[in-house]
Symmetry: C2
Subunit: 206 residues, 2 copies
């Protein structure tokens, strides 16, 4: 009903994204209408259409807002690392712990993995969201390769397969975890990774 200052406008934008997050989580992407979001945010559809072009852009903005802070952790180079496996482990657990620290992450991951459909224009957006978990697949591969070169892993270990296996475990963990946060807890991750690395070192992955 009233015009706002720029700061207030940015606040409404966040209000809209908060509402979208809640409604998406409850009803899923397809079944939530912009009217639902507007009602939850106590604004009109006009306000949403002012800030975003359509529902897809709302989703994208909601995701970006959540996962962009995670991106910073991704910058690594294992090539000169003294303990590549240790660093890899710490980094993966760091991301998971970070996700665990803010309930918002679990919600948006649940939306991206279970409450939206991986088709058409959603593919690149969801991809970016997932990549922030195992975007380092190449880097992981590097870590395993360096570890093998250093003699930390047996020569029979295939870095590519190892990285694939690791990201499978991470994706599975995040998927189960975001769906049932009370069943799957954070400490499963550490155990799984330890177990996997142990098996790798002893050449048990065949």
């Amino acid at each position: 009903m009233v015009r706002k200052t720029k700061e207030e406008a940015l606040e409404t934008r966040h209000t809209i994204l908060d509402a979208a997050e809640a409604v998406f989580y409850r009803k899923g992407m397809a079944r939530t209408t912009l009217a639902d979001i507007a009602e939850a945010a106590s604004v009109t559809r006009g306000a949403i259409y002012w800030h975003f072009a359509n529902k897809g852009e709302v989703f994208e903005a909601m995701m970006r807002r959540a996962i962009d802070p995670l991106e910073a952790i991704s910058e690594v180079d294992y090539s000169t690392s003294e303990r590549p496996l240790e660093e890899l482990r710490e980094r993966v657990l760091g991301v998971i712990e970070r996700i665990n620290s803010d309930p918002r992450y679990i919600r948006v991951f649940a939306i991206a993995m279970h409450k939206s459909e991986y088709v058409d224009e959603m593919v690149p957006v969801v991809d970016q969201c997932m990549e922030c978990c195992d975007r380092h697949l190449l880097r992981q591969e590097q870590a395993f390769a360096v570890a093998r070169a250093r003699g930390d892993l047996p020569a029979s270990v295939d870095p590519h397969r190892a990285a694939l296996s690791l990201s499978v475990m991470i994706d599975g963990l995040i998927a189960s975890w975001s769906l049932q946060p009370d069943v799957y807890s954070l400490d499963l991750a550490g155990g799984l990774i330890n177990c996997f690395f142990y098996g790798l070192k002893h050449d048990a992955c065949h």
Copy 2:
């Protein structure tokens, strides 16, 4: 345009489900309309409404047709098993191999896990589909417990956590696999499970 015999009617039903499978896989559940399915099946919407009440029932029937044959493998009792871990391993790999044998499985799993939204009335249907992968979570727990009692696993192993970890890995594998069948191959599964069991035996999951 013509009336059919009972056999022909059942054939149209299968034709509709085939078409639904293809269109669901391409466009996702939400964006496919019954008109799409009808066109792909070369029938009219009226035909679909004759066989099914709505799109949800089409989905459910499509899923049932695919996963019901998998259910048979699920009946196990590890309590008297001599080699519970071996049997568990073989059973899990058996399911995965079965899935690998028919491209239909990969498609319906991709639909269930990535091309549909886990909300409302979809929850029980998708659950049933997922349970056929790790429906044995309780049975797995039993297998681990029996193995521990037999001394095949160290006493420090928690059967419940072990079963959770295993199903996380399986879910993650099926999820990645169904999304990119060319990237993730079947033989990753065996290695992962071996690696996990090895780590379990050597008490490395902490």
